[in-house]
Symmetry: C2
Subunit: 227 residues, 2 copies
């Protein structure tokens, strides 16, 4: 048997830019991992020391073998008849997801959603720390939300030269989304969390995570109307 830790199936998928690349972790798994983390954190506070995959599966209503496989991606080992050590599995999840590192980000567009995210990250750990926010609205510039200063948009270039930020959060109006995204890329941003409805046209190497509210509204409405 080869080294277990790296004995993971490598899936060939297409990214948003359409080019094939090797990925070690399936996206559905990645989306489930923070759910485990939150639930396990709650258990830890309750004083639980060990937790089995079937128990997690029962509580989170998903297949126990899926839990085992998802957790295996993080490298954590469970013991038969006992389950996982709660400290080990939380530590493993956090370090795997990068939630224990400081992943610094710029936010552009301190409107509704932008302001919400700024205030939100104070209490809810997203694994991302917003360093500064930018806007063109004179009424917003100079204000502070969730401990984050809102700066003039044209200061973005200057500040990105000094700091080395790799994440950009895009919460601008749709009309300027493409333009701002290109600016972010020129500032050295490597990944964009896109909350607009615009399909961004950016270099292939840029990681784009689209999180459009309307997509989830659509699923909800359809499921409701077909029931």
């Amino acid at each position: 048997m080869v080294n277990n830790t790296f004995n993971l199936k490598v899936a060939k998928v297409k990214n948003s830019a359409g080019n094939r690349e090797n990925r070690s972790v399936p996206e559905p798994t990645l989306r489930r991992l923070p759910g485990y983390l939150f639930y396990l954190d709650k258990l830890k506070k309750e004083g639980v020391l060990n937790i089995s995959a079937p128990t997690i599966g029962k509580e989170l209503k998903c297949d126990p073998t899926q839990v085992v496989k998802d957790l295996a991606y993080t490298g954590v080992k469970g013991r038969p008849k006992v389950g996982y050590n709660i400290y080990e599995v939380i530590q493993s999840l956090e370090s795997f997801l990068g939630f224990n590192r400081t992943n610094e980000a710029f936010l552009v567009g301190a409107g509704n959603l932008g302001a919400a995210l700024m205030a939100y990250q104070e209490h809810q750990s997203l694994g991302i720390k917003i360093i500064a926010a930018f806007d063109v609205d004179k009424n917003k510039i100079g204000k502070e939300i969730g401990g984050i200063h809102i700066l003039e948009y044209n200061k973005l270039f200057h500040l990105s030269n000094r700091l080395n930020i790799s994440i950009g959060i895009l919460t601008t109006p749709n009309a300027v989304a493409q333009e701002v995204a290109e600016d972010l890329v020129n500032c050295g941003i490597k990944a964009i969390w896109n909350f607009t409805s615009v399909n961004l046209n950016l270099p292939e190497k840029i990681i784009v995570q689209n999180t459009s509210m309307s997509a989830y509204a659509a699923v909800l409405l359809k499921r409701l109307n077909e029931s």
Copy 2:
């Protein structure tokens, strides 16, 4: 050949409650549809009359046959060599998704995310109209965001008796999420858009759409760190 319009494959999948049910539209398709709608709306404003699936695919960077199949779910018919009539396809998408109906909703938890959604829906069509918001915070009660009044939480029961609302938007702190969700169900809510990190335990018939910010943050962080 049988009637084309209803000649759609019916997928057997498990819903969040774990029980099998028949669904006519795959979730990935549903999530893509609002993206088409937004793009086509933009084209309409530019005066475009017809649009082909290959063109949509090229712009939105996805497979042209996937565009054809996704649009076919809405019932719209395209013409070879011409493509789809832009008015027809937009109308078809909106009516299929229910975006042209008034899908009324209650929102509970007028905090960061809640306030953002209230303000957001003023400008961005999500197909959902928030009728009233509820909170327990005395400082928030009586205020108005995005034209929506914030009411005392205990007024929820009274108001739900008069109005017949079927959608509940859950933007409370995690600690009270389960409790509030149960209240919403008791008020006759049929579908819950859950923005908390809590895995809700509710009757099977209740439609739950989980939209946890941390899930998308996780995907972004992992893709960034593995690149």
